[in-house]
C-alpha cells in the first residue's frame, strides 16, 4: 500500500501543472542560454513579474487575455531594462544583474509598504485571480478520476489547468522547434558560439540578444502564470531557488535541445518525489524530520547540478557540439 502511494504521488508529478510551469520556464531559459548563450540567473524574476502582472490585473477585473498580455508586456519591459545595461558586457555581469533584479522584484513585491497592491509577503490569494480562468473551462462541474489520479475538473489544481498548461507546453515546443531551424535561430546560435563572427556579417548582436531575452522572458512570464494558478501568488515561492531548479532542469534534459526541458522537468520532479516520499515512508520521523527531508531534496538537486556540469554537460539528450560557448 505504501509503495502504491509513493508510485501514485510520484507519477502524478508527470502531469502536474507545476511540472508544466517549470517546463515553460526551462524552455524560456533554453532560448536564453541554450540558443544564445546568455547567462540568465533570474528566470524566477520573469516568472514573478508574469504572475504579478496576471494576478493584479485579474483582481482589478480585467479580461483574461488582457491580463495575459499585461504579464507579457511587463516581461518585455523588464527584458529591455535588463538588456540595455548588460548585453554589451560579459556573461558574469548579465548573471549578476539578472540575479539581483529578480531579488529586487521579490523584495519590492513582499514589502509591507505595497500590501495594498501585491499583498506583501502574504501575497494574493487564489479567489482574487483564478475565477475567470476557471469559468472559461468547458468541462462539467465535479471531480474526475483517470487511472490513479483524481482531481477536480475546474477548480484550483484541476484537470482544466493541466490541459491548458500542457497545451501551452506543446505550443512552446513547436515554436522553439521552428525557431531553432529558422535563419533567426541560426543567428542566435552564431552569437552563442562567436559573436564577433555575427558582428562581422553586419548583424546587430545586441538587437538579437534583446529579442532572445524578451522571448525567453515571455515564456518565463507564462510559466509564472501557470505556476501560481493552482496556489497563490507568493513572492517568496518564486525566489532564487526556482531559478536554480530551472537551471538544473535545463542542464539535466540537455541545453540547446528541443525536448530537453520537458524531459528534464518530468524526470527531476518524479525522481525528487520518489526520493522524498520513500524517505518519508522509510525513515522514522524521530530520526529525520520532514523539514530535514525537504532540505535533503535540495541538497540532491544541488549536487546533481554540480555533477551534471562536471560529468555530462550536454545533459541526457543534448549534443556536446552545441555547447561551444563564447566565454
Amino acid at each position: 500500500m505504501d509503495l502504491m502511494t509513493i508510485f501514485t504521488n510520484s507519477f502524478a508529478q508527470l502531469i502536474a501543472p507545476t511540472t508544466a510551469a517549470y517546463v515553460l520556464a526551462a524552455i524560456g531559459l533554453n532560448i536564453h542560454f541554450g540558443m544564445t548563450g546568455l547567462m540568465n540567473m533570474g528566470q524566477a524574476g520573469f516568472m514573478l513579474l508574469g504572475a504579478y502582472g496576471f494576478a493584479i490585473t485579474q483582481s482589478m477585473g480585467w479580461n483574461l487575455f488582457a491580463s495575459v498580455l499585461a504579464a507579457l508586456t511587463l516581461a518585455a519591459v523588464y527584458a529591455v531594462l535588463l538588456g540595455i545595461p548588460t548585453l554589451k558586457l560579459g556573461p558574469d555581469y548579465l548573471a549578476m544583474v539578472t540575479l539581483a533584479s529578480a531579488e529586487i522584484i521579490r523584495i519590492i513585491g513582499r514589502s509591507t509598504s505595497l500590501t495594498s497592491i501585491t499583498g506583501g509577503s502574504g501575497g494574493i490569494s487564489p479567489q482574487d485571480f483564478t475565477t475567470q480562468f476557471e469559468n472559461l473551462s468547458p468541462l462539467p462541474e465535479g471531480n474526475s478520476t483517470i487511472l490513479l489520479w483524481s482531481y477536480s475538473n475546474n477548480i484550483a489544481d484541476s484537470w482544466w489547468l493541466r490541459i491548458v498548461a500542457w497545451a501551452l507546453v506543446l505550443i512552446a515546443v513547436l515554436l522553439t522547434w521552428r525557431w531553432y531551424r529558422s535563419p533567426w535561430g541560426r543567428v542566435l546560435k552564431g552569437i552563442r558560439e562567436d559573436e564577433n563572427v555575427i558582428r562581422s556579417l553586419g548583424k546587430s548582436v545586441t538587437k538579437f540578444k534583446l529579442q532572445s531575452l524578451f522571448l525567453g522572458g515571455a515564456f518565463g512570464a507564462l510559466s509564472g502564470i501557470i505556476f501560481v494558478l493552482p496556489r497563490s501568488v507568493q513572492p517568496d515561492s518564486l525566489g532564487r531557488q526556482v531559478t536554480f531548479y530551472v537551471w538544473t532542469i535545463l542542464l539535466l534534459g540537455g541545453a540547446a535541445s528541443i525536448l530537453g526541458p520537458v524531459l528534464g522537468s518530468c524526470l527531476l520532479w518524479v525522481l525528487l518525489t520518489v526520493v522524498k516520499e520513500s524517505m518519508r515512508e522509510g525513515i522514522s520521523s524521530n530520526l529525520i524530520s520532514s523539514n530535514q527531508i525537504e532540505s535533503l531534496g535540495w541538497v540532491i538537486v544541488g549536487v546533481a547540478l554540480m555533477c551534471l556540469v562536471i560529468f555530462r554537460p550536454q545533459g541526457l539528450i543534448g549534443d556536446r557540439r552545441e555547447l561551444a560557448f563564447n566565454a
Binding site: I84, V97, A100, W298, V299, V309
Partner: protein
C-alpha cells in the same frame, strides 16, 4: 567638453537618466499612502514614514538577557513575538496611538522584574515617538535606543520605565540628524564586514575569472562553526572563531583540490564553473539547514553595554568587531603589496599566462588565494554573526548579492576595489532606510549594481577596457 561627446556617449547618458528615473520611480512607489496593516513582529525595527516601532531588550535586574519569552502587543494593533537569544524583541506598527506591551506574569516573578506591563504612545513621523523602547527591569541607564533622547518614565499606572517623549524641545531636524549619523555609523561597520567578505571573492575572480556564487555559504559556514564552538562545545569565543577560520580555510583548500583544479585542468570555461558554484551553493545551504534548522543561531548570549559616542550610540563589541575587520583588511592589503607571494598573486590576477612564463607557480598562487578567500569569509561570518546577533543557514546567501554589488562597484578583480565598493554599499544600504521602507533597503544596494554597469562597467578601480 559636452560638445565633444560622441553620439554613443550621449546615448549612454540618456540611458543613465532612464535608469536613474526608474530608480526614483521605484523609490516613490515604495512610499505610498500605506493602508493600515496589522502590527508585525520583526527581528529589528527601524521607524520610517509608514511604520513606527515598539521594541526593547528583556533583561533581568543583573542585566542577563531573558530569551524565549512571549511578548504580547495590544492596543491599536496587536501581535505577539518571543524574545531572541539576546533578549531582544521588536514590533513594527502602522497605526498611531496607545499600545500596551505585556509579559507572562510568572516571568516577571521568576526574574524579579518590576512590571509585566507597559503602555506607550506611538506616533509615526514624530522622531521622538516613532520608536518607543520598553524596559521591564527599571534600569535607568541609556539602553542603546537609536533616537538618542534620554530615558524618562512616562506611564504612571505601571512601574515600568519607558523611554518616551522627553524630546519635545528637540526639533525634528536634530532627530533626523542623529538618525543620520547613527545609520552612517552602522553603514560603515556593515561595510567593513562586507569588505572582509568581498576581498576574497574578488581575488578568486581576479586569479581564476570565476564569480563564486557559493561564497555566501562560506560566510554562513564561518558563523555556524563559531556557533558550534561557543554554544555546543562551550569553547571560549576566540577559540571558536579560530575553529571557524580553520574550517573555512580547510574547505577552501579542499574545494580547490577536489573541484576547481580538475575543472581548470579539463579547460571547463568559467561560465560552466559558475554553474557548478551555484549547485555547490544550493547543496551547502541546505546541508546547513539540515543540521542547524531554519532558525537564527546566536553565537554569543550576553548583551553588550551600550554607550554614547558623539551623536551615535554604540557598544564595545561593535567597535571591537569593526576593529578586527579593519586590521585584517589592512594586513591583507600589506600582504598583497608587501610580500613576494602577494606580488605573485597580483601578477596572476593581471595576466596568468605572463605570470606563468616568468616563473610564478600559478596553481600554487590559486591554491593560496582559495585558502585566504574562504578563511576571510569564515572570519567575516563570525563577525557578522556576532554583529547581527546570530547567524542562520541563509545569512550568507542574503549577503551574496551585496557582495556582488560591492565587487562590481569597486571593479571586478581589483584588489582594493572590493573594500571601497563594500563601504559604499554598506553605507547606502543602511542610510537608504532613512527614506525608503526598511524591508526594501537592500534594493538600493542592488540598484547601485545596475547603475554602475550603466555608467562605469569596469568599476571604480577597474582598468578602462572593453569588458566582455
Amino acid at each position: 567638453m559636452v560638445a565633444l561627446l560622441s553620439k554613443k556617449r550621449a546615448l549612454r547618458s540618456v540611458m543613465v537618466f532612464a535608469g536613474a528615473a526608474l530608480i526614483i520611480i521605484l523609490a516613490l512607489l515604495a512610499v505610498p499612502p500605506a493602508t493600515a496593516s496589522a502590527a508585525e513582529a520583526v527581528t529589528t525595527c527601524n521607524p520610517t514614514s509608514s511604520n513606527a516601532c515598539v521594541n526593547g531588550i528583556l533583561q533581568d535586574s543583573s542585566k542577563q538577557a531573558i530569551a524565549g519569552v512571549q511578548v504580547t502587543l495590544g492596543g491599536e494593533e496587536s501581535a505577539t513575538t518571543t524574545t531572541d537569544s539576546s533578549g531582544k524583541w521588536a514590533f513594527s506598527v502602522t497605526a498611531d496611538g496607545e499600545y500596551t506591551v505585556s509579559l507572562p506574569s510568572d516571568v516577571m516573578k521568576n526574574h524579579g522584574l518590576k512590571s509585566d506591563k507597559a503602555t506607550v504612545t506611538v506616533k509615526k513621523g514624530d522622531f521622538s515617538k516613532a520608536r518607543q523602547v520598553v524596559r521591564f527591569d527599571e534600569a535607568q541607564e541609556s539602553d542603546g535606543a537609536q533616537s538618542g533622547s534620554s530615558a524618562s518614565p512616562e506611564s504612571s499606572d505601571t512601574k515600568a520605565s519607558t523611554q518616551a517623549s522627553s524630546g519635545q524641545e528637540e526639533s525634528a531636524f536634530s532627530n533626523f540628524m542623529s538618525r543620520f549619523w547613527q545609520q552612517l555609523f552602522s553603514g560603515v561597520i556593515f561595510g567593513l564586514m562586507l569588505g572582509l567578505m568581498s576581498v576574497g571573492m574578488n581575488l578568486v575572480y581576479g586569479t581564476t575569472k570565476l564569480s563564486s556564487f557559493s561564497h555566501g555559504e562560506q560566510v554562513s559556514l564561518g558563523g555556524l562553526m563559531a556557533y558550534v564552538g561557543t554554544q555546543i562545545l562551550h569553547w571560549p569565543l576566540v577559540l571558536s572563531a579560530i575553529l571557524a577560520v580553520a574550517v573555512g580555510a580547510a574547505t577552501g583548500l579542499l574545494q580547490n583540490e577536489l573541484v576547481w583544479k580538475p575543472l581548470r585542468r579539463r579547460h571547463i570555461g568559467p561560465m560552466q564553473q559558475m554553474i557548478v558554484t551555484i549547485g555547490l551553493s544550493m547543496a551547502l545551504q541546505y546541508v546547513f539547514q539540515f543540521f542547524f534548522g531554519g532558525d537564527v543561531k546566536g553565537i554569543t548570549t550576553s548583551v553588550p553595554q551600550g554607550f554614547q559616542m558623539g551623536p551615535i550610540t554604540t557598544d564595545f563589541t561593535t567597535l571591537m568587531l569593526a576593529g578586527i575587520a579593519l586590521v585584517v583588511i589592512i594586513a591583507f592589503t600589506l600582504f598583497l603589496y608587501g610580500t613576494r607571494l602577494g606580488r605573485a598573486t597580483r601578477a596572476v590576477s593581471d595576466n596568468p599566462a605572463l605570470a606563468s612564463a616568468s616563473g610564478i607557480n600559478v596553481e600554487q598562487v590559486v591554491r593560496v588565494v582559495w585558502i585566504i578567500s574562504t578563511a576571510l569569509a569564515a572570519l567575516s561570518g563570525v563577525l557578522i554573526g556576532i554583529y547581527l546577533n546570530g547567524i542562520a543557514w541563509n545569512t550568507g546567501a542574503l549577503m551574496l548579492l551585496l557582495m556582488f554589488s560591492a565587487v562590481t562597484l569597486g571593479g571586478l578583480g581589483t584588489a582594493n576595489g572590493a573594500l571601497v565598493g563594500s563601504l559604499v554599499i554598506g553605507v547606502v544600504a543602511d542610510m537608504s532606510s532613512l527614506v525608503i521602507p526598511d524591508d526594501m533597503r537592500y534594493v538600493s544596494a542592488l540598484a547601485i549594481l545596475i547603475v554602475v554597469l550603466l555608467i562605469r562597467p569596469q568599476g571604480i578601480f577597474g582598468k578602462q577596457q572593453r569588458v566582455g
